[in-house]
């Protein structure tokens, strides 16, 4: 079971599993006894069946459009965003849109090629849990999440950019 890091750097475990997109023609293989994250478009396709369930969340890949779930995010207990490669920065925009535009308030998790030095950016964009790539050391996460005590610009963590905080 992978470590799940919280925004304050503490490490815990949980039993959520990420269900990969099934091959063409195959159906979703959702485990019976574990909470599962399924591809966002498939959740939408099975909306009547999945909406409001505490054991079914969704995941977005970096090229997916968060607009897909506009108006429906409050039906989800957990959303994950996959970083296929750590240099693919689309997940940061997806996170901000889910939080700031579509009003998602539940847990937002970064998964995939998640490394220590990207955590600070993920946190500011609204991710509040992180699963590091397997070879990375979760015990260093707290330090990497907290190198900076403030940022210049508004993001999900604060809507007040520094120029406004300075003025007050």
């Amino acid at each position: 079971m992978p470590d799940v890091i919280a925004a304050n750097g503490t490490v815990r475990n949980d039993s959520w599993v990420l269900v990969a997109r099934p091959a063409e023609g195959d159906s979703l293989d959702i485990p019976a006894d574990q909470p599962a994250l399924i591809p966002a478009d498939l959740w939408l396709a099975g909306y009547e069946h999945f909406a409001g369930r505490e054991d079914i969340g969704v995941w977005f890949d970096s090229h997916n459009e968060p607009e897909l779930l506009a108006g429906k995010v409050d039906q989800l207990p957990l959303i994950a965003v996959n970083f296929p490669r750590f240099v693919d920065g689309r997940g940061y925009s997806i996170a901000r849109l889910l939080r700031e535009r579509f009003g998602y308030t539940g847990e937002l998790r970064a998964v995939g090629d998640v490394l220590l030095d990207q955590l600070q950016f993920m946190k500011r964009c609204g991710f509040d849990s992180y699963v590091l790539r397997a070879d990375k050391d979760s015990s260093k996460a707290a330090q990497c999440l907290n190198f900076f005590s403030q940022g210049y610009q508004a993001a999900t963590d604060t809507d007040q950019p520094l120029f406004r905080r300075r003025a007050s």
């Binding site: 964009c125 190198f147 403030q150 120029f163």
Partner: protein
């Protein structure tokens, strides 16, 4: 000039600590080279042909004398006693040790400097006109807006991993464009609308490199208060939809082209509609606060020193040449803007020694309120010099190598470090510049030829801006040998134009002759009033081609 407050200082110190930790993890092997790469690049650190190269940020070109002195000391203590002014108004060290970089950053932070985002696929240093704030015809001083953009873009959490690098430039005059804004990812032209309100005309998707493009206008008027929310909308559209499958098609210009400028603008407007009234919208008070940092220095009330200068010019022909060429008008009577040229034959364009850096600091303190400015043409400007002190200043700078009176002439060459230093280069560029400078060493002849931008890049990445040179030179690799492709008619100013390739490329030793033949065509064909570019635009490429390949 902008001065750090406690927030800026804290962020700068935290950044040094972070990079120290990252460097330690890279040296211990905890971070792989692939993982460390974007981290070090976002800190301006390249691993180059011979050694690491550190690119230190000079935000929109502004430097204080204490910063120049610190840079001099850093080049002595950590490098080989010289540095290089780049075409993005930054400063590069060519020989630092990787393990020393955190200490260099700590030394920089003490004088309010850093190397943030001078490389990598993120928002780079914003550039502007070197005569900002001192030219008579500017619409408003662009530097407060540059600083606003600097702060907004620094460690922006959403835009740290863009598809590709991203460069913004701001220009303030409707008559001139010394910032080349139309060949930037975003070019911002300060304008006033019919109601007299201040704002920006927004160009997006210009750029040089492999696919040179003049950036189309995607918004005719953006009110100044909306600057950051609109930039955020542009960047978000780019971050989401820019190509990531092919690094040669990843710049925003490719996206703008694919969507068409109109289609791209629509997407931006739709995104912007959601965020334009967010707290990221600037306030008049905040803009005023930034403007306060760039208020006028304590000018003396002076009349123009016409008589004194006239006498000095009459008595000293060298001074007269320098004054005509390297000194330009200032908005305040009795003052002038002086360009210290870093284009002396035999010295790579833009290179300065530690001693020269310290001397620039001395000159800035004595003659120009303690400030200097780097230009994208790789020169240094003292922007606020009293006219009655010009002669004294000139006497000081000539022995320092800053008095070559070739500003804006054929030998004021823009030149990247090229194959002598850069791992990306296909060919050397510095020896080409030097050979051309040696060939054209008669200043009176250069003045007769008038303004010519000769720009040399050692590869496609176009750090030497060859596409927008009146004469552009690009180093190419042909079966392992260095050759040079020549283009004509480029222009980085308001009539921004990408130059046209003349024809097959040349060997290095042919280059001075090739340039001489191009010049001969111009001299033969020009009318009395015409610059090289005017003549080229009238007669086209063919006559030049015929002469060179005859």
């Amino acid at each position: 000039m902008y001065v750090y407050d406690e927030h800026d200082r804290q962020i700068a110190e935290e950044r040094v600590a972070q990079f120290r930790d990252q460097t330690e993890r890279a040296l211990s092997g905890e971070l792989s080279e692939e993982e460390f790469l974007p981290l070090r690049l976002q800190n301006g650190l390249y691993v180059q042909r011979l050694a690491p190269m550190l690119r230190i940020c000079v935000p929109y070109g502004m430097l204080r004398s204490d910063q120049l002195r610190r840079l001099a000391r850093i080049t002595r203590d950590y490098d080989k006693g010289y540095a290089h002014f780049t075409t993005r108004t930054n400063i590069q060290l060519n020989w630092p040790n990787l393990e020393d970089v955190p200490d260099i950053l700590a030394e920089l932070a003490e004088v309010e400097m850093h190397a943030n985002q001078t490389s990598g696929n993120c928002i780079r240093n914003t550039t502007t006109d070197q005569f900002s704030g001192v030219q008579a015809d500017e619409i408003a001083d662009p530097r407060p807006y540059c600083e606003i953009i600097r702060q907004w873009s620094t460690f922006h959490p959403e835009f740290a991993f863009l598809p590709r690098k991203f460069k913004v430039a701001v220009n303030a005059s409707e008559q001139t464009d010394r910032a080349a804004i139309q060949v930037h990812d975003i070019g911002l032209q300060l304008v006033r609308n019919e109601q007299g309100e201040l704002g920006f005309r927004v160009h997006v998707g210009g750029g040089l490199g492999r696919t040179p493009v003049v950036g189309p206008v995607i918004r005719e008027f953006l009110p100044e208060l909306d600057l950051l929310t609109y930039l955020e909308a542009v960047l978000r559209v780019y971050n989401r939809y820019g190509r990531r499958d092919n690094k040669y098609k990843a710049r925003i210009k490719i996206l703008v082209k694919a969507l068409t400028p109109e289609g791209f603008a629509e997407k931006v407007e739709a995104e912007w509609a959601h965020i334009r009234n967010s707290p990221t919208r600037l306030t008049p008070e905040s803009i005023k606060k930034f403007q306060g940092y760039f208020s006028e220095p304590a000018y003396d009330n002076l009349a123009d020193a016409t008589d004194v200068l006239g006498k000095q010019r009459f008595e000293n022909r060298e001074f007269d040449k320098w004054l005509s060429q390297n000194v330009s008008a200032h908005k305040k009577s009795g003052y002038a803007c002086v360009t210290l040229t870093l284009k002396k034959t035999g010295t790579p364009p833009g290179d300065v020694t530690d001693y020269q850096l310290e001397q620039i600091a001395e000159l800035a303190d004595q003659f120009s309120f303690g400030e200097a400015r780097a230009t994208h043409e790789q020169n240094v400007v003292l922007a606020d010099v009293r006219q009655d002190q010009l002669f004294e200043l000139w006497q000081r700078i000539v022995p320092l190598g800053f008095g070559t009176a070739n500003l804006n002439t054929l030998t004021d060459i823009i030149c990247c470090p090229g194959g002598d230093f850069c791992a990306l280069a296909n060919a050397k560029s510095i020896p080409v510049a030097e050979a051309i400078q040696r060939r054209f060493d008669n200043l009176d002849y250069l003045y007769d030829l008038g303004p010519i931008d000769l720009n040399i890049s050692g590869c496609m990445n176009a750090c030497g801006h060859h596409h927008v040179g009146t004469i552009g030179v690009l180093g190419v690799d042909k079966k392992g040998e260095e050759f040079y492709q020549v283009s004509l008619g480029g222009d980085s100013h308001h009539n921004a134009t990408i130059g046209k390739i003349l024809g097959p490329s040349f060997a290095r030793d042919q280059m001075p002759d090739v340039i001489a033949k191009l010049i001969d065509v111009y001299v033969d064909k020009r009318t009395e009033e015409e610059t090289f570019l005017d003549t080229y635009r009238r007669i086209g490429l063919q006559p030049f081609k015929e002469r060179v390949y005859a």
